[in-house]
Subunit: 302 residues, 2 copies
């Protein structure tokens, strides 16, 4: 128990550290220019700086720990992923999409600014993700950088996150079964979470056959993360979450909780976390942060 408590304490300290570094990274990346684009940069800063669990950058750090990849490289990749994550939140919150007014306890970008600025701010963060990855500051080897770009573009595009978001729109019109909801979530949130560990494998130049365990871990925690989100959506505290809850039921969308029930959903999330940790069994203490993240994913309250 003490050991587990220690791992959680270590993880929370590391998470705070990573979050502070990501904020500093965005602060540098988004210096406001003294011209008519100032409002665009202010909108990007509003969405990108402060708040946010920065779970994805932490996951990159944890996966990079396995292969002794520099924390600087891991941080740059984490910053690129947050660019994609934040861009997707800005666009998902738009009136034409999920129509959300609050995010991370603040007004969403189209509320604090306007819709046109929100669309452009999302588009710009989308570009910045690739600009960050392509820069040699991220990794000295151009082959590694181009592999990172290729993987991220695939994970965020129609075969990944955006494809999942499209399925999510269709979910309001069609009744999805468990297999389809699982596929939807594997695309919508799973693909980017998989990229977090895949990036470490790319930077470590790990052969494809040696990536199976990491992929299994990422797939399992990605799904567990979404089930936990669905549980928080029905049981959580909107003030803690910093956004509106219980929206899926209102929109008539099937979720893991609506399809399985609360108890079976919770059981499945825990089963997935155990399975995720089992994928790490060949690793020693260097995988402790990955294990702690897996536990945290189903135990968090926001």
């Amino acid at each position: 128990m003490t050991e587990g408590g220690g791992a959680v304490t270590d993880m929370l300290a590391r998470a705070r550290d990573v979050a502070a570094q990501i904020d500093r990274g965005f602060d540098r990346l988004l210096a406001v220019p003294d011209d008519a684009r100032a409002r665009l940069y202010e909108a990007m800063r509003h969405a990108a700086i402060g708040g946010g669990k920065r779970l994805r950058p932490l996951l990159v750090q944890a996966a990079c720990d396995l292969f002794h990849i520099s924390r600087e490289s891991a941080l740059r990749v984490g910053l690129a992923i947050e660019c994609i994550h934040v861009y997707s939140l800005i666009h998902d919150d738009l009136p034409a999409m999920d129509d959300d007014d609050m995010r991370r306890g603040k007004p969403t970008v189209h509320k604090a600014f306007d819709e046109a600025t929100a669309i452009l701010a999302g588009d710009c963060l989308h570009d910045l993700a690739f600009e960050v990855l392509a820069d040699e500051e991220t990794h000295p080897d151009p082959f590694v950088r181009i592999e990172l770009v290729k993987a991220l573009a695939t994970c965020s595009g129609p075969a990944g996150m955006a494809g999942g978001q499209m399925m999510d729109l269709e979910a309001e019109r069609t009744r999805f079964d468990l297999a389809t909801v699982t596929r939807l979530q594997n695309l919508k949130t799973g693909a980017l979470i998989c990229f977090c560990v895949e990036a470490a494998a790319i930077m470590a130049r790990l052969p494809q056959e040696a990536r199976t365990g990491l992929h299994g871990y990422a797939r399992d925690i990605g799904l567990a993360f979404q089930i936990a989100d669905d549980l928080l959506d029905v049981e959580g505290d909107a003030a803690l979450a910093g956004k509106a809850l219980a929206k899926d039921a209102a929109a008539g969308k099937e979720t893991f909780v609506s399809l399985l029930g609360v108890e079976a959903a919770r059981e499945r999330a825990h089963m997935l976390v155990d399975q995720a940790k089992d994928h790490l069994r060949t690793h020693g203490a260097e995988a402790d942060l990955l294990r702690a993240i897996a536990d945290y994913i189903v135990e968090r309250d926001r």
Copy 2:
């Protein structure tokens, strides 16, 4: 005169060829999947296939002619640029932005589909641009590919196209002078046009100091292109253009024509084309296509 006529005929033939190849490229890239994402792919196909002058891919071909770069590489880069160009048109046409109903003689994506699908279709084409560039089919050298990615991300993001679009939104609130309108257009349309020739320089591994002439050519035709667009906006035929015209004046935005007058604007466009061709003076017949494109840019009727 016969010589000039021949160059124009050659250019039009090459343009048709490139346009057909870009359509085929999109057809392959956007094969519709048999799942809930079908509508997303249909929306991308609606915007990306058919219509369009494909001026940017033609420009890549023309610049690549100078350095004997393979037409396959030039085509892949052209496809990536069209992904960015089409994504920007989809988002610019949205109700929150320019609110346009027609584009290339067809309903815009949010009209033919819906706003949410249009936002996602734009986002997906944005990713596909980088996926295309990052693929080894585009160029065998990963260093060249990463340089292409870096340059395209910069040209399309807040320091380029999207930054210019933000200035364009501000132009409805603030009265811009000629210097500011020039900067706006250098970002909004110029940056991507510059990338077309810069991509050839990157693939040719041309040293920076040897790129000056090409950069000058691109900057001049980019501005000439926009002035010609402003002239078409007040004098053109909406049926030929396939979109609504005279929108800038209605929105109270300053343009080259409102600031200079029709005659002086036309003179400036022709002066820029002469200047652009002068940047090519050290080149022989291998630059004829670039010269013909410069002429075409101010003589087109749509």
